[in-house]
């Protein structure tokens, strides 16, 4: 059936509505990676968003059991040029369309996605509705993502433990991607994922060797109340922050964040290590950035920068073993050229271990 996506700025794009027919509101964003739609659809950072894929053919290799980043489908809706009705891959257990239907989210296909993307590029990420009758759309009922506390919707409800390695990492979960945990397990870690609001004492009881502040959806400022707790924890253990985790840690140490006009979402963001000068390709998915001039002196230093727009891509603490990155070293989807970050983090753990031994 005919369906539409109506943007907050009034633009309407027509398409064919499949999956669910229910009207959904969400923040409309676009993803530029040419592969990885399944990872996007299960990445909690996309929770509550309407994702537009810039690559026109989505679903070619179907849906498999491996490329799943969380237990559920996360975006509120999808907008696509052409969705594959069949799966052309030996690993596929379902077609893309079946998976979308099972997830119960609306998929609008046959849309001039390039025109839509240009619209977002010019007006910025904004509210949108996918609907069969857009004339009825009432943005009055739409609550912007940035003003909502949505992390409880994606964070684990109780601690989960994965792996049995020598280093014990506790993940403060804002909506973690499974491949992040897998990366740590592969490096010989035991990982315990805890709810984002777990009291510090409970975390201490887990005797972690290190902490990972995970990725997650929405505005980091929604976590204002928890910042002192996060700061205290980060000062106690070697800490890695990824994406939302990076933003939260920046806030915790006195920095500020702001919203980009439209976020970086794709597999081709070039990031430079400000010390070595070396540039590498990263996978990204974020709307908010840390403001460079907001960083308090003597605490956090900018370690990585985006070479296209100069935005902050990572920090390191001058006193504590804290590194944070805006990009996704665990990849999935996208390049794993920054896997080094995990190694660096593990180096911190090992150093810490030695200190303990010789103390």
């Amino acid at each position: 059936m005919k369906g539409y996506i109506k943007l907050e700025n009034g633009e309407v794009f027509e398409g064919n509505l499949t999956g669910s027919n229910q009207e959904v509101y969400g923040e409309v964003v676009f993803f530029t990676g040419m592969t990885g739609y399944q990872e996007v659809m299960t990445d909690p950072s996309f929770h509550g968003q309407i994702v537009v894929f810039t690559y026109p053919l989505i679903g070619n290799y179907g849906w498999n059991e491996t490329d799943i980043e969380s237990a559920t489908t996360q975006p509120a809706g999808l907008v696509i040029s052409e969705a594959a009705g069949e799966a052309f891959h030996y690993e596929a257990t379902q077609t893309f369309k079946e998976a979308a239907a099972d997830a119960g989210i609306p998929v609008l296909t046959g849309v001039d996605t390039r025109a839509l993307v240009k619209c977002i590029r010019e007006s910025g990420d904004m509210g949108a509705v996918i609907s069969a009758s857009p004339e009825k759309a009432a943005f009055a009922i739409y609550e912007p993502l940035g003003e909502k506390m949505i992390i409880p919707e994606v964070s684990v409800k109780k601690p989960e433990t994965i792996g049995d390695g020598d280093h014990h990492i506790v993940v403060i979960d804002f909506g973690y991607k499974r491949s992040m945990v897998k990366s740590l397990v592969r490096e010989g870690c035991k990982v315990t994922v805890v709810p984002f609001d777990t009291p510090a004492a409970d975390i201490e009881k887990l005797t972690p060797d290190g902490l990972l502040f995970s990725n997650g959806p929405g505005n980091p400022q929604q976590l204002q109340e928890l910042l002192p707790r996060y700061r205290k924890l980060a000062q106690m253990y070697p800490t890695l922050g990824i994406c939302m985790g990076h933003q939260v840690l920046a806030l915790a140490f006195g920095g500020k964040t702001e919203k980009l006009r439209f976020g970086h979402r794709g597999a081709n963001q070039p990031v430079q290590n400000t010390q070595s000068g070396k540039v590498f390709m990263t996978s990204q998915n974020h709307s908010y950035v840390v403001k460079e001039n907001s960083l308090p002196k003597g605490e956090l230093a900018v370690q990585y920068k985006n070479i296209n727009d100069g935005s902050v891509e990572g920090l390191s603490h001058l006193k504590y073993d804290i590194i944070t990155v805006q990009f996704h070293p665990e990849a999935h989807p996208g390049p794993a050229d920054s896997r080094e970050i995990f190694h660096q983090f593990l180096e911190y753990l090992k150093r810490k271990g030695r200190e303990k031994t010789y103390a």
Binding site: F13, F30, T32, G33, M34, T35, G36, Q38, E39, T54, Y55, P56, L57, N60, Y61, N64, T66, D67, S81, E82, E86, F88, H89, Y90, E91, D112, T113, R114, A115, V117, K118, R121, G266, A267, N268, P270, Q272, G277, K278, V279, F280, M281, I307, N308, A331, H332, P333, G334, P335, A336, D337
Partner: protein, 1074 residues
Amino acid sequence: MPKRTDIKKILVIGSGPIIIGQAAEFDYAGTQACQALKEEGYEVILINSNPATIMTDTNMADKVYTEPITFEFVTRVIRKERPDAILPTLGGQTGLNMAMELHREGVLKGFNLLLLGTELQAIEQAEDRDAFRTLMRTLNEPVPESEIVTNMEEAKRFVEEIGYPVIVRPAYTLGGTGGGLVYNSEDLHEIVSSGLKYSPVTQCLIEKSIAGYKEIEYEVMRDAAGQKIVVCNMENVDAVGIHTGDSIVTAPCQTLTDREHQMLRRSALKIIEALEIEGGCNVQFALSPDSFEYYIIEVNPRVSRSSALASKATGYPIAKLATKIAAGYRLDELQNPITGTTVAYCEPALDYVVTKIPRWPFDKFESANRKLGTQMKATGEVMAIGRSFEESLMKGIRSLELGKPHLYNNEYMELSDEQLEMKLQKAEDERIFVIGEAFRRAWSVREVHELTKIVPFFLEKIARIVSIGEELRDYPGDAEKLLCAKELGIADETAARLWEWTELDLYHFREKEGIKPVYKMVDTCAGEYESDTPYYYSTYERENESTRTEKPSVLVLGSGPIRIGQGVEFDYATVHTVWALQEEGYEAIILNNNPETVSTDFSISDKLYFEPLTLEDVMHVIDIEQPEGVIVQFGGQTAINLAEGLQERGVNILGTTLEDMDRAENRDKFEQALQNLGIPQPLGRTAYSPEEALVIAADIGYPVLVRPSYVLGGRAMEIVEHEEELFLYMERAVKVNEKHPVLIDRYLLGKEIEVDAISDGETVFVPGIMEHIERAGVHSGDSIAVYPTQTVPEALKQKLVERTIAIGRGLQIKGLLNIQFVIHEEEVYVLEVNPRASRTVPFLSKITGVPIASVAAKIMTGRSLLNQGYDNGLLQEKKEVSVKVPVFSFAKLRRVDISLGPEMKSTGEVIGRDHSLEKALYKGLVASGMNIPKHGSVLFTIADKDKKEALALARRFHHIGYTLIATEGTASYLLQEDIPVTVVNKVAESSPNLLDIIREGQAQFVINTLTKGKLPARDGFRIRREAVENEVVCLTSIDTADALLKVLEMMTFRAEAMPQMEPSEKVSVNGGAS
């Protein structure tokens, strides 16, 4: 790391002539390289023997040497110019091989030459099979089981171990020359022995066949700081087993998961890191369709055909940036030229689908073996962009200009199911149409997949195109169905055929229904960043991004894919036209579909539309741009063919009018026009029956030139001496009837002359007159052309000029014209007039210094010749002698007869330029790839009719110390004339026969002239093919042989005994006898 300042002068090595496997993509790469270096302020010295390229324009480098790319000449240039550095990685395999030779021979070291870009050691590691496999093993990157063999025994032993099928790849050859997929011992013997011969290091790699795997390519770049990116990945529609140059290819990959893509990306980056590539590199993978298993097939440590394709597919100019990297820059220091706002350290994101389809020469070579395998056979390619795979595929199909705009071919409808199955299994060039037929017969995707090994993703799409096409037939006048078909890229021509409408009606119907395409921009970033790249493609969607500017514009039609008869020279003319239009203040818009060329570099024109060259697609652009006019004269036959349709739709064709063009091309009108001008042409008439033919021939007098008006490939023009022969020809060669008449012309034996001229309708300026070495009867594109003429007396030259002026004025030519004359018994006859850019435009432009295409383009926009400083008459001829020598790709095309005739067969050309004809010829022949030893043997197999002329040649060979070899007939004839000759057995006779002589390399040259019909033509054919397969120079024209002898005579000295003492009574003393 900014650019290097320790070097000032850089030598760039080009890729030489166009041959199969090394085509216009290197003009594109080389042009970008030269421009990039000049931009950085370096002094650029270029060596390239190909006169037809933009790259060899004098403004492309500080100094351009059109010398042969051989060790001898490159060294000479180095000695003269003393460059600081050399850039070899942009001149294809030719450039790399030359750099390696310079290194081996100590020239690099001797002249203290720095090598820019990737280190030679890395190149060797990537190119040498053994070194490469060792490297892959250390990197833990899988390569198929394989072994390098240097003789047949080793080959057999290894294959016994691993079993058939295997792939044979000769080392260091272009486009896989001499290699192939082998299923049995017989083929193994044949392919390995020829492969060893082709390999300059006598090495072949025998490899376990992984046919059926997905073939995936990665275009990667790395800078000296070790920063790496993947510009583009590409998936071959045809599975491993068919050379990627002969495969339909899509970008980006369509059927890979992100994990698979990242796995291969990582592998590609690991490899270029290990090789320490500085610049561009291509990595080819075979990926299992049902596991994560993959193999590295090949690594090309340089820019390649694939990188040209990747550049056009993404907009990312690989060659330009590879050059800047070679000059010392880092990727993050360079700007992404497309967006202008982001850095070159960028992995483009596409929001469209690109399809590349090869263009094969089998329309010219019907007898050729059309099977596709590991040896590339395509001469060129087209690329098309769409928002769906279907759209891009169908746009590509109609860009091929095969007269088949849809996945449909009448011929295949008549095939039995078994035949169809066979054609699906053993891929030939037209397999895509065979697949279409299979789906029309409702075969399942599974069945077709099993036969073709093409992954179901692509087959489903093809099946959809077929079914939507079939469905459309049942809904004439249904706008909704039509829109659906248009979205899948189905051509108006097809829809009109299905509805039994005219194409024009369909066009009007679409206009009324508002079914019109929009144009989207190619921007490397999927719309993420704003960019103003003027690079567009059409699609049926909502938003149009291409807006017309206020500036008056002109649309220039390109020439489409490179094919025999329409090569890079037309791209040269197209680019020059654009520059001229820009100088005149116009916005120059290009429409073309060839990804290999300079004209489709978005930075050349004000706007580039990457679209099929069909009436429908051109009209869409015209509708949106409303140009002042369209220029068709520079796009070869492709563009000319569109002129009529465009004019019918009210488009203004700039330059010579359609009516005047027709006066040159229509036989009857042309005859009339020449008569009016009082210019003679060979008598000729059209015969509609054999009887009529005999009457006409008797009337105009023998010898006559006969040819079918409708040429079926291969069946060619013949020179017929008398009635009996004509009778035989009519029986044997043609089916003459009302629909297919035969043209009969008086054959005038004589010198063929070619003139290029520029005319504004009143003034006609002649930049130069060229003389052909081969007599009339050999296609002008296959003849050696000489400038200035060497044997034409002044009076006749005057006449040539007068007649050219008369024709230019008489036919009201506004732009270019090319005339072929024949000089016969002191009279100048006109053979044909081409009212458009000819193949010789770039050659003549470069040697005379007249910007021919540019002057002509300005005429088309209203400027006169006088206004541009040119008057009636011939330009003062230059002293230097220049020759244009054709280059053939026969080694790649099995079963093609190499004899020269009226059908063009060459794929490219080289120039030779020096102070004397002999020296120029020497350079030309050497540049064309000929090896000219000072002594050796020459094998003569001469037709009776040519024996007399051949005798003189034989004597001259003998005088310079060459040994003559001939079969009995020719031998006894030579012996009668006191020329010593070694007799050898004929083809049919026992070994060692003539073929063995060729195979064993005992003859350096073979001179074989064509016997018409009588003797077993097969013998001659076998001799010629044997020569080609064994890389022995084979000449089929007495005139070419004469030219070669001139060169040899210049190089060598006669060895002759002193004359005997004369008896005293015969001695005469000056003045004493009277």
